[in-house]
Symmetry: D3
């Protein structure tokens, strides 16, 4: 159910019944020649719909801006600082709690948001100990991803506009993918990228971290289905079901 399509006359009962709000949050960020700037928004949004369908959660409008320090110098990227993002999410959480929600699921499509989401969640926990705030970024897909991928990952944590993320998009938002433009660009990410600030233009000009040409809808489906299953399960556990 899309929260913003409800009216104030109908929504109260639904909040009380569901108690779960899902916020899709992504970013506007360079994703190579074949994926749109809004890739992370589309992923978060489509995932949220599927997760909501199985959990009875209410889907909030997508917050389409996030923290993109690493890629902020690429064409099209829009960066929100962690500090601003944390405050924004903290305010949202207060309203959601006051509205009667007790489970606030931040369904994240952009790894760069992880720090802000976790911090906002903790600040909300400090304020409302009975308010559970979740930050979800493709939980529990490590194994299936290893099985599915044909090329090694470019980095232990990052994946971006590559075989994997492109597959996600093919499965979840195919209409925004132009596979004819997909490229393979496996950069050498210097080890120092894990221990010092390194804007990505230092090691890639495409923002693609892998071989996007190998992406398929089937690969995406395999991983995403696991991700959804895990998210649904985590939410249900949190709700005490």
């Amino acid at each position: 159910m899309m929260f913003q399509n409800e009216t104030s006359y109908t929504v109260k009962e639904k909040i009380d019944e569901s108690q779960i709000a899902i916020l899709p949050i992504g970013a506007v960020e360079a994703h190579g020649p074949h994926l749109p700037l809004g890739t992370d928004n589309y992923l978060a949004e489509r995932l949220a719909e599927k997760v909501a369908a199985r959990t009875g959660a209410l889907v909030l409008p997508t917050l389409p801006y996030g923290q993109v320090w690493s890629l902020k110098n690429f064409p099209g990227s829009i960066n929100i600082t962690n500090e601003s993002l944390i405050r924004f999410l903290f305010d949202m959480g207060i309203s959601l709690y006051e509205q009667g929600f007790r489970l606030f699921v931040m369904l994240n499509g952009h790894l760069g948001n992880a720090v802000a989401l976790k911090e906002a969640a903790r600040q909300l926990y400090n304020k409302f100990p009975d308010f559970r705030v979740l930050y979800l970024f493709y939980p529990g897909v490590k194994q299936v991803t290893e099985e599915v991928r044909e090329t090694p990952t470019a980095h232990t944590t990052y994946f971006h506009a590559c075989e994997i993320e492109t597959s996600y998009m093919q499965y979840l938002a195919e209409e925004f993918v132009d596979m004819s433009k997909a490229i393979s660009d496996i950069p050498h990410i210097p080890p120092s990228a894990d221990i010092t600030p390194i804007p990505w233009e230092m090691f890639t000009s495409s923002a693609v971290l892998g071989d996007a040409t190998l992406a398929t809808k089937e690969k995406g489906e395999k991983i995403i289905k696991i991700a959804i299953k895990n998210m649904v399960q985590l939410i249900k556990e949190m709700k005490g079901e």
Copy 2:
């Protein structure tokens, strides 16, 4: 053109050519029994598309949360404080400027955002004197609104979920309006509402400020067309055309 559907390979040229970014910004807020919580988001978004079509502007993804202090205690409202909203928009503006935009149009669908938008615009002007930031909220429609409306306005500045705003929705986002639920509820807004903080639950239980049953698509069209014409003209003037 929807900014987030571009890729980083195609967007740079379009930014340089257009130099204009439009951000639709609304709110999630109670709008009576016949209009959805996301009314201000839909209005801002649809207006942005129309204005962009005539100005060559790039439309950013909608920021669907705003400052709703007055209605925050109504079911479904989500409130962002002015301080958080200002910071968020300030960060966005910095990125847009660095990306090459020179005209940042905040197309506002929610009066409650006005203060934050103006403040963010000023802070960006202080930082980048050659960056024009606009905040637009139905400019120049006073006269046509007076002509169109059949009932007097409930307040000199506010209008909300009433004959006028409902007409806007009928014209711009008809699919989200349920006229069968429309009501007439003309509250007595105490004069003190202009001079002291008064949450709206003090004078209305419906959040409707007028007779929504009188709303028509035609009324909406008349006003919105003027608003669009004015916005287009203001943007062109700003761009020096």
Copy 3:
């Protein structure tokens, strides 16, 4: 009664009896060749005295600095940012509440302060729901002003060092007005001034928005008497009288 002339031995009883504090707040800002930089301070202060006389309020010392972004580049202007002003007023409000006041009237002589005053008032309301904070800027004078003025207004919202404000000064603080220097300077304020930050030096070199030579004490008296009447009434209503 001037609050700061009381002693701590006498003031407690008066606070408890009155419960109303009036803070005159103005600005130091360019007001043309015939009005002093402190015009808004003198207006706020004199009004406060008159309003206090009729409401039993205690008059706090004038806060003589305000937000003057628009005119900050004119000689003599001193600008306080909204953020600083809000914090300052918020602190004051806390003290006033703790001292026993339940009605805090910010009597404003400078339109540029309006945003900060309203925001401070809301933050205080959030903190102390039984604390009423008022922000008053010539309430309810629209009609009488239209009747009195001989020249059309230069702008729908702004008036500055013009026929009207100069008349106010003639009535309230004649000794600071030098009518021999009064000028008529009706600038073309571009419509964009309502939708984007435009420092006033872009459209005026005098900071006078109208024909100050037409100002008279009588005009001032007519409007100010209405303003005072309205302020007194609003305060009494708030106090539940």
Copy 4:
């Protein structure tokens, strides 16, 4: 010269000629039964006038609120936090510098402001290395005070509403002193007051720290004349005269 009585047409030349702005800053604070709440404001203001007369400085309107943590629980006290006060003064300093002043004298009538004044001065120095900001609180009067006083001081640093401060008021603002109400109240200030936060109600109910009945205009004159001489000299040295 009173800055706020100038107009924007006359002030520029005077700023360029003088380059010195004096801000009287005090507080609203309990001062016993014989001195008004605004004592520190009157002292700062009268001193500023005298110092300006001898240095050609322009006198800004008094900032009549300050940091009064220690006495905030006494009737009539109004407390501004250090953080808010620092920001406010920092903003003021920026405007004064941009207006052409190169010497900003914060003439302080209230010891509690000392921390905020020094911090604001340093922050302004960091921003504008050629901007001299002074914070003056009766400089160089230690010796003469020892000579003049008939009773020992209640504390090495604090003096308040006592023989000394009352004498200042008699000399500078006699009309606000009611010697018939003056009392002698020499509290035992615990040594811990220097090493831990101790609100003054812990050791005094009058807020008088000494024997105010011994105050005389002559005593005040002797000390104040030295203070003024020192302030004038410091300002002239700073100006390079």
Copy 5:
């Protein structure tokens, strides 16, 4: 070389020669019955000395407080919020840069600091693009740790007071370890700990995450030697050697 043991007469030359500052940063935090609260401080400090010896870096005094949200309710833990820690480190970085350092190594002994360190590093990079700030937490020890450990890890990211960390302490700061008190306590960490704020008292009463009785100096040595080798190499690469 211990930075704080130098004098201002000798240090300038050493800064210019080395250009590398190492800040050991840890935390005061519960570490079970056999390890001291200052475990992370001792580890960071001892590592820093060894790394400095091989890189010519200057070792700053240990910052012995860090972000310990997860364990803050355990006896002895002291928590600094991320926001405060970031500001503190940002200030330090500014001074180090102004002193002539061009490589600022934050050698971290406490995983909970990771977010603050990275954020501070980015903010410093934004301010000084030629200033390299490193955040190091046992880099590149994953493989050797897998080889060394006899028991599986309790969590993919966390390790705490367990076989591994206790081995570190035995190798680096043996005098603070009391193996007679070491326990094995392998908690069930709920999967939700990765996706929602969960204070550790929810799943452990000892704060030990593993079998500390299996710790040996030899295990510690094997891992720590790799960690040091990697840190030295990363620093040298950064320095362009």
Copy 6:
């Protein structure tokens, strides 16, 4: 007792028994050719140990960074802004209170920290009225210092790397003093240093304010013993013993 050498299993009982935490806080700052940059840290730390021995207090790890605006341009100085320092100490205080401490003694070795310590103490008092926070900087040594010193003080408040502070170091941390490098350098501190920001490089190149060659361990001992006696007494009084 060194707090960080305790374990979480042993510390709770000791906290409850003692209720007193001592935080040594100093700075990294230029102290002439004969004293190390960490002088204020060593002094604070050694004093803390002695005071703890007599009061049963628990000694926290030294916070070795402080506010050194005045000397920040001297080689080796590291400056933390007041604002950052206050936040850091405020966070620490919250944890200490929650851990069960009721007396938080900030034992200060660096005068420049005084403002931040006092402000943090007040903010903690506002939050926890039953939490006593002390800031101690050689209390009550004025008289003995006058007796001991052979040369007049260079300034009424400051002393730095001089006869006195060097004597402190000889008594408390002899191993870090190199008397063969001690110099006599009595600068002319301009009177304006008390009333306007003046970095110390304006009046000294050595950062020594006096004749360090006259320092002796005996002088140090005499003063420090008094300081310790006074600190012990103040703490005991605070604890109600």
